[in-house]
């Protein structure tokens, strides 16, 4: 087998040194009846030629974004990833290493994470960040747990405008952690301040708000913060950091914990994963954070060095007293985001965000001109917006698909009251021609 260098001769020598005469003898500590029952049903090994053929076969059953112009978002975004990102992420020094336990031979990973932490914290408007987490949904659930642990209260409020994937995961985590998860209603597409005020109480550990929310609408974070009078309540904001190219940061509007998915920043759409959860906090919460953190220090000769730090929070040291059970981070995705943010830089992030903003608004304007589609909520939005259609969203999308377009997300799946709603997303990748074609096709239906 091509990944096993041992030859028959090697095997003989190895067995001899061990003092047994055959490999089977090395498994005699496994009860015979278990071994007997554990034989594998046979499937043949495929060569490289054959696995490529098989993938061609499977791929042929898909219709991918290579063939479809994508106007769908809803938590997974078709942004452009610069070529240099792949180049760096593919370097085997990064790719085939593991958690940087040995700083002397892991400065590459460690420094890249240190840079990542800086960029994430800066974009979020916070003081610190961890080394990344699984995805936006789990990072939000972990933030809720942090709030519960920190405040010793057990109620979490979450806005109904927070994405369904995020709320579902929060529900699961809350149920088992015995957290009371309460939804805050929407008022015309944004969080109802009134409902929020009525629900915040002495048992409230945190308030979770997504902004731009699931419908692309920018929440009034300062207003929400103002409405939470109890200062112990943690204000948790889930955001798309790409929007920071045009919007105020959550940190500058009073967030205590900023979380979200940074897939938008250099990570492929990949049928949903792996993506990149992040978490940023201010100083006083650093030691309460889950996940890896890299810190700066010096070596014995006084040279600046980076190292995993504050490990006393973590499971491998604290075991069941850890802040979380999280062990790995999404290191390679964090690296991709770091390279991506470095390439974009200040100007690039502003330009990408602005192109999304402009193109989304252009699309909205064109699409709602004809009268067949109505903008559901007339509130400031970023790169996504919700329209109500006269027809059935599923039918519309089927027809768009025939014309090579992946239409908007039919939100009725998650919001019963919005069964005619189509959530469209327009990124910097979409050209005016593509948008005009979308509008033309949708008009015809």
């Amino acid at each position: 087998m091509r990944y096993i260098p041992s030859t028959d001769e090697d095997r003989r020598e190895l067995l001899e040194e061990i003092g047994v005469d055959r490999v089977d003898a090395l498994f005699e500590d496994i009860p015979a009846e278990i071994r007997e029952r554990s034989k594998l049903e046979k499937w043949e090994a495929m060569s490289e030629i054959e696995i490529h053929r098989r993938m061609g076969e499977l791929g042929g059953k898909n219709k991918s974004l290579s063939d479809l112009v994508c106007f769908r978002g809803a938590g997974a975004y078709d942004h452009y990833i610069p070529s240099a990102v792949k180049e760096i992420v593919g370097r085997s020094e990064f790719y085939t290493s593991y958690t940087p336990y040995q700083p002397e031979i892991s400065q590459g990973t460690l420094q890249a994470i240190f840079e990542f932490q800086t960029m994430i914290a800066d974009l979020a408007g916070m003081e610190a960040s961890n080394a990344s987490m699984y995805d936006g949904a789990t990072s939000t659930a972990e933030a809720a747990i942090m709030a519960v642990t920190d405040t010793k209260r057990r109620k979490i409020l979450v806005s109904r405008g927070t994405g369904p994937e995020v709320r579902s995961v929060m529900e699961t985590y809350s149920r088992f952690r015995d957290i009371e998860l309460v939804e805050v209603a929407m008022d015309e597409g944004t969080l109802s301040i009134e409902d929020l005020r009525s629900k915040v109480d002495k048992e409230t550990a945190g308030v979770v708000v997504q902004s731009p929310n699931f419908f692309g609408i920018i929440e009034d974070l300062s207003g929400i913060k103002g409405a939470i009078e109890d200062k112990k309540v943690k204000f948790i904001v889930n955001t798309d950091l790409l929007s920071m190219g045009v919007l105020k940061s959550p940190g500058s509007q009073g967030a205590d914990i900023v979380v979200g998915d940074a897939q938008s920043l250099g990570n492929g759409i990949l049928f949903g994963g792996p993506y990149l959860g992040f978490m940023a906090v201010n100083k006083k919460l650093i030691r309460k954070m889950p996940g890896r953190i890299v810190g700066e220090s010096i070596d014995t000769e006084g040279r600046v060095s980076y190292v995993l730090t504050l490990q006393a929070r973590e499971q491998h040291i604290r075991r069941y007293k850890a802040t979380s059970n999280i062990c790995s981070n999404h290191g390679l995705n964090a690296l991709a985001a770091t390279v991506h943010m470095s390439l974009l830089g200040k100007k690039g992030l502003e330009e990408v965000a602005n192109q999304c903003l402009q193109k989304a608004h252009y699309t909205m304007k064109k699409l709602t001109e004809g009268g067949r589609y109505r903008l559901k909520y007339d509130k400031p939005f970023f790169k996504e917006f919700l329209v109500e259609s006269q027809g059935n969203p599923g039918d519309i999308n089927r027809q768009l698909e025939e014309r090579g377009i992946l239409g908007g997300y039919p939100v009725g799946r998650d919001y019963d009251e919005l069964s005619k709603g189509i959530l469209l997303c327009v990124t910097e990748k979409r050209s005016r021609d593509e948008i005009d074609k979308l509008v033309e096709c949708m008009e015809e239906m």
């Binding site: 096993i4 499937w43 760096i88 009034d220």
Partner: protein
């Protein structure tokens, strides 16, 4: 020596990106003033070539598996086949929005379905959910199902999860996150489950027992069938920590040992790249009795069509967004298909052969924690020495060009060194590593100060970890 941060390369006006010209009319005032950022974005400004050079230089400060031997016990640092990466470049299989309608993603769902079936076959489980993002996340998911199982039966007292003192830290930690109480039991000096200790906790409060087998000491638990019977008789469920699956493929299925639920680490056993700490993937396998509780969506099959089934009333719910770390799954699928069933068994056989060989050669020079037949890894203790510690030995290995073993774990062995060669290393490589270990042993006598001061040849020397935790500096400041 290169020691710049990306921020040090920043200069006003440098760009590293290219975007099309905005081809729609630029509208003003789309967003009310109060929502617009007031400051400039704080990101560095660097050209593409400088970015590439910077991260290329950083990469050169990293030791990866393609650079050399990486016997990090418990992490299964096996070779990551390059075919997996080529397959992952297939845009028809990867450039997919997770909310595309099912009929547009049949190929991907088929792949996931088949992967689940193969993983079930290897583990002897009845169903495998691919959702969890990592091993620890798989534990979380499995434990949630255990909790849901007892609750569904109205068995609300069952709050205890037993873990061995030799277990991975994630075991008790995951149980804690799911709201269980943790009962830690001592192992025998040999690292086996102490049956008498175990029996003390087999009561009506027992929710489950989490076990790694082979254990973190690399030893196959001889009483596994007895343990399974005891736990089941007491009404508990048995959880299998799949970190050590690389030892037993084709030889012992967790399902056949009596386990009810388990997780895999695809990045360990199934060769997906570790990526400097992730992304991993931690599918969860279960016996049929837990089927009601599996996370949604379930990748199902109706006739010739593959489906994403959300309609499961007793599900624990969603444990992460969408359907798991799909990109990782694709690589693991490729691995399973390219090795075939015999290849997997051969991998485990060779991994075990290699570990026993290294243990045999090192036995004379270092104390072996448990001197029995081991499986895919084994644990050495710290040799008696007045000055030199396990940490020193590990650092000295860096000077020999190796990634050291896992150290100080499992906690039950003083100064543990946990060595896992995997099947993808040659005899020559193992011999050279053993020789280095012997050299260091000799050096401990001849020149202990050299060992204590190691490493000497790395680009930096030992890092002051205490300072990092004390003077917390976890970001760059301008």
């Amino acid at each position: 020596e290169y020691n710049k941060l990306i921020f040090d390369l920043s200069k006003e006006g440098r760009v590293g990106y290219s975007l099309p010209e905005l081809d729609v009319d630029r509208a003003e005032g789309l967003i009310p003033e109060e929502y617009l950022k007031e400051e400039e974005v704080k990101l560095p400004e660097v050209s593409e070539n400088e970015v590439v050079r910077h991260y290329t230089k950083l990469s050169n400060k990293n030791y990866g598996l393609d650079a050399g031997f990486y016997p990090l016990g418990s992490c299964t640092m096996k070779y990551n086949p390059k075919i997996n990466e080529r397959v992952a470049e297939n845009l028809q299989m990867t450039s997919l929005h997770p909310y595309q309608e099912e009929h547009m993603v049949q190929g991907s769902l088929e792949m996931m379905y088949e992967l689940g079936e193969k993983l079930a076959e290897v583990s002897g489980m009845d169903y495998v959910s691919l959702q969890p993002a990592a091993g620890a996340h798989g534990e979380l998911t499995g434990l949630m199902m255990i909790k849901a199982y007892h609750e569904k039966r109205g068995d609300h007292k069952r709050k205890n999860i037993i873990v061995a003192d030799s277990a991975h830290g994630t075991n008790p930690s995951s149980a804690q996150v799911v709201g269980f109480d943790i009962v830690e039991i001592k192992s025998t000096p040999e690292g086996d489950v102490d049956l008498e200790e175990l029996k003390k906790h087999l009561d009506e409060n027992l929710a489950g027992f989490m076990l790694t087998n082979p254990s973190t000491l690399g030893i196959f638990e001889p009483n596994i069938s007895v343990i399974a019977d005891l736990v089941h008789e007491a009404g508990g469920l048995l959880y299998y920590d799949g970190a050590n699956m690389n030892a037993i493929m084709g030889k012992a299925k967790p399902g056949e040992m009596g386990f009810d639920v388990m997780h895999y680490n695809l990045h360990k056993t199934f060769s997906t790249p570790h990526g400097g700490g992730g992304p991993g993937s931690g599918p969860v396998g279960i016996k049929a009795k837990l089927m009601d509780f599996v996370p949604v969506p379930v990748v199902g099959k109706k006739g010739d069509n593959y489906t994403l089934d959300y309609n499961r009333p007793n599900t624990i719910g969603k444990v992460r967004s969408f359907y798991g770390n799909y990109g990782v799954l694709l690589r693991a699928y490729t691995y399973l298909k390219t090795l075939g069933s015999e290849g997997l068994e051969r991998a485990s056989e060779t991994a075990v052969l290699n570990a026993n060989y290294m243990m045999a050669r090192l036995r004379e020079h270092y104390p072996v924690a448990v001197d029995r037949l081991c499986k895919h890894e084994f644990v050495l203790g710290q040799p008696a020495h007045e000055k030199v510690t396990t940490l020193d030995i590990a650092k000295r290995l860096l000077d020999h060009g190796y990634h050291p073993p896992t150290i100080y774990f499992p906690l039950i062995v003083d100064g543990a060194m946990m060595i896992e060669p995997t099947e993808t290393e040659s005899k020559e490589t193992m011999d050279a590593f053993v020789d280095a270990m012997i050299d260091i042993k000799n050096e401990m006598e001849s020149s202990p100060e050299t060992v204590v001061a190691a490493p000497h040849t790395t680009i930096i020397r030992r890092v002051d970890e205490a300072k990092a935790a004390r003077d917390v500096k976890i970001r760059y400041h301008r």
